[in-house]
Symmetry: C2
C-alpha cells in the first residue's frame, strides 16, 4: 500500500508536476482513500522522501551499537554509507527524486532539514565519543559536517550523472578524504604526535620543535638551523 | 520604516507568540499599511531574518574582491566572520531571534536554507580557487561545510549563553581549528610546505624530511637521528 502510494505519486509528479498534483489525485490513482495516505505520510512532501525516516532510525541504531573499539571518525563515515546504500538501492527512483527536488523549492527545504537531522545524529555520536576532550563538541560538529559534505558531494555527482557508474566507489573516495584529514586528530586527544629523533612523547606543544628540510640540503646547514631553532646558538 | 516593522514584529512575537501574530497585527502596531510590509518582506518569515540578505550580499562581494594572494581557507574564514559581526552588532535582538527559531519549526527550516546559502557562497569561491586541482570541488565543499559548522558551533554557544562574553574570540578559536586543519593542504596543491633550515621549496613530497624533536633533547642525539632520516649514516 505504502509502495503503491509512492509509485502513484511519482508517476503524477513526473506527468503533471509536483505542485499540480494533489493528494486526491494520488489516492485516486492508487485506488485507496485519503485516510490511508495520511496514515503513511503526514503531508504530500513526505511521500517524496518515503525512506529517510527508516534510514535515520537505522543510522541511530548503528551508532548506538558502537563500541569503544570503533575509531569514531571511521564509524561516522560508515554510518553515512547507510544513506548512500539507500539511494543506490533504487537508482532510477533516486535520480527522479533528485530532479524533482531541484525544481521545487519546498522540497529543497525539506531535504535540507533531513540532511540536518543526519548531520546532528553523527555529531551527537561524536560529541559522546569526544566528551571531556578540549573542544570536543566543536570537533564533533565540524567532523560531522565534513562527513555529510563529502558524502553529498559524491552522491550528487552520481545523481547528476543519472546514476551512472559506481556510487559506492565515489563515496568511499570522498569519505577517505575526511578520514585522512581527521583520523589522527580524533585519535590523539592530548598533544601533537611526537616522532622522529627524540620523539619520546611531548608534554606541552611548546616543548616540541618541528624541522622541515629538503632531503638534499647540506647537513651542516641543517644542524646550524636546528641549533637556532632549539635556542642553543 | 523597515526597522519599525522589525521592532513591531518582534514585540508581538515575544508577547503573543509567532504563530498567533499576523502581518495585519504587525502593520497596525507599526502604523503602516500592508503594502509597506510586503515592499520590505516577502513573507512573515522574512521579517525574522531582516539582515541575512544584506549579509549574503556583503559576503559575496567580499569573496568576489579576493585576489590570488589571499590564502583561500583563511579567506572563507574571514568571510564567515561577516556573519558573526552581524549577530554581534545587536546581541539582544540576536538572542531573541535564536529563542524564536528554536520554538517555531518553520523558522528553523528557513534558517537552514539561509545557512545553506552561506555555505554555497563559500564553497563556490573555494571551487574557483581549487579549479584544476584533483578533487578540487570535493575539497571546496568539505572545507566550506567545516567553516560553517565551526562558526555556528561558536555562534550558538554564545547565543545560548544569552550573548554573554566575547563572541568574536569564540568564533576565532573555532575557525582557527578549521584553518589549522586545512590551511596547509589548501595552500600547497603539490607538496607539504617546506620551512625551517633549508626550506627552499620542495618539488616532490618525498624530497622533504620532517623532524619533530623535544626542545630539551641532546643535540648529538638529534643530529644522529637527522643523519639517519636524511640517509647520510
Amino acid at each position: 500500500m505504502r509502495d503503491a502510494l509512492v509509485a502513484a505519486a511519482f508517476r503524477l509528479f513526473v506527468e503533471r508536476g509536483y505542485e499540480q498534483t494533489t493528494v486526491d489525485d494520488i489516492v485516486a490513482l492508487a485506488g485507496v482513500g485519503r485516510r490511508s495516505f495520511f496514515r503513511y505520510f503526514p503531508s504530500k512532501e513526505d511521500v517524496v522522501f518515503p525512506d529517510h525516516e527508516g534510514c535515520l532510525a537505522d543510522m541511530t541504531a548503528f551508532l548506538a551499537a558502537s563500541g569503544a573499539g570503533h575509531e569514531p571518525v571511521r564509524r561516522v563515515c560508515d554510518a553515512a554509507r547507510l544513506v548512500l546504500r539507500m539511494y543506490a538501492e533504487n537508482p532510477a527512483f533516486s535520480v527522479q527524486r533528485y530532479r524533482l527536488t531541484r525544481q521545487v523549492p519546498g522540497l529543497r527545504a525539506y531535504e535540507l532539514s533531513v540532511v540536518w537531522r543526519y548531520e546532528r545524529a553523527l555529531a551527537e555520536y561524536l560529541r559522546g565519543r569526544f566528551a571531556g576532550r578540549p573542544d570536543g563538541n566543536l570537533h564533533a560538529d565540524v567532523i560531522a559536517a565534513a562527513v555529510v559534505a563529502a558524502h553529498n558531494n559524491a552522491l550528487r555527482s552520481w545523481l547528476r550523472s543519472d546514476g551512472e557508474g559506481d556510487a559506492g566507489t565515489a563515496v568511499d573516495h570522498a569519505l577517505g578524504y575526511v578520514q585522512t584529514t581527521y583520523a589522527r586528530s580524533a585519535d590523539a586527544p592530548a598533544a601533537p604526535a611526537a616522532s622522529g629523533p627524540a620523539g619520546t612523547g611531548a608534554g606541552h606543544p611548546d616543548d616540541v620543535v618541528v624541522v622541515v628540510t629538503r632531503r638534499d640540503a647540506p647537513l651542516w646547514r641543517v644542524v646550524r638551523e636546528l641549533e637556532t631553532a632549539l635556542g642553543r646558538d
